[in-house]
Assembly symmetry: C2
Homo-oligomer: 206 residues x 2
């Protein structure tokens, strides 16, 4: 019941260990965290509010790499675009954590605070309140999909003689080679499309 | 060395079992698949080309739910949009498989064939070869990010009194409630933005 008097070091160590496990396996259990820390499962529960509490520690840890200053930039579209780039980089460092974090409700205060600032940016820029969350969520889908893509191998399509795909081969050779370049170019296409649309939505808002 | 004479039933059972495990855990190992089938790990290797071979079976299985007729539609933008919707639905049924499939090279012949058709659609519509893969990948990032979002809980942001976020609360209440609606609306925003951009790219192609 309630949060324990925060033993900061321990919560930090629990977060670090859980993130290590998630980076390896895409998921974690509290007993796994305890085992790796050489502790009893029960002791871990002394420091966090259950498994969900650890998920929120992970979320804060991963999101801490997003540059908060991006949301102070103006005009709004410069800020939103810079935030999206920083957000992608932060999550690309932990691709296996993406599904876990995308499918658990956001409770971490520091992360909610970041959403608050992103929402305020758009409201203050003149967006209709009903448009804000669908826009931010669409941007996040693009950002997190692209962060996963950044973890993909250099050669994503392995063509074989047994499956002749001449048009695919043509398109692949026309696109430049190299993983980072491949993933970055796709992200730029998606981000350009999104930002253009967002500017139009704002221009159409009475 | 080489592919065994395909014992179809067994490859099917291996794929089904591996997908079950991935749906539960987000990953699988060959020994886990063997154990669940009551077989020796070595026997599994008799039927597939290693772990990567199983990943490709999973890819074919998940992608088989994408309606191939969408890519026969015309004009090209109707086809691409219908394909994106069907693609999202297919992967939303297996959200935990998304990171695994997004980060392994595509070798499955039937899946390569589907890329071949999507690429041909855009080339035949007049897109420059160098634009095709970045556009398709940007669309996939959006589609797969949105498929993951569809697996997110109904209430994605849990606001607390201890972390006052009035603007976020305003935006959330202005957006309609309900998970499917929330995720679907965000997907529509992203897809609208993408399709508009793709039409402009094509219009700008000499």
């Amino acid at each position: 019941m309630g949060r324990p008097r925060t033993p900061l070091l321990d919560r930090e160590r629990i977060a670090t260990t859980a993130l290590e496990i998630v980076d390896e396996r895409g998921d974690f259990s509290v007993p796994q965290v305890a085992k790796r820390l050489g502790a009893q499962t029960g002791s871990v529960y002394h420091h966090v509010e259950g498994r969900d509490g650890i998920v929120e520690l992970l979320r804060e840890r991963v999101a801490a790499a997003i540059d908060p200053a991006t949301l102070d930039l103006r005009p709004w579209d410069t800020a939103l675009e810079a935030w999206a780039r920083s957000y992608r980089a932060a999550f690309a460092a932990h691709p296996k954590a993406i599904p876990l974090l995308m499918t658990s409700p956001v409770r971490a205060p520091r992360v909610l605070e970041q959403y608050e600032r992103a929402v305020a940016l758009l409201l203050d820029a003149g967006f209709a309140p009903a448009d804000v969350m669908p826009l931010l969520t669409a941007l996040e889908n693009l950002v997190l999909g692209s962060a996963l893509d950044l973890a993909a191998p250099e050669t994503m399509w392995e063509l074989t003689a047994s499956s002749p795909t001449p048009r695919l081969a043509e398109a692949l050779s026309a696109a430049s080679e190299g993983r980072a370049d491949r993933a970055d170019r796709a992200f730029e296409v998606g981000l350009t499309a999104f930002m253009k649309h967002a500017r139009e939505v704002r221009a159409d808002t009475p």
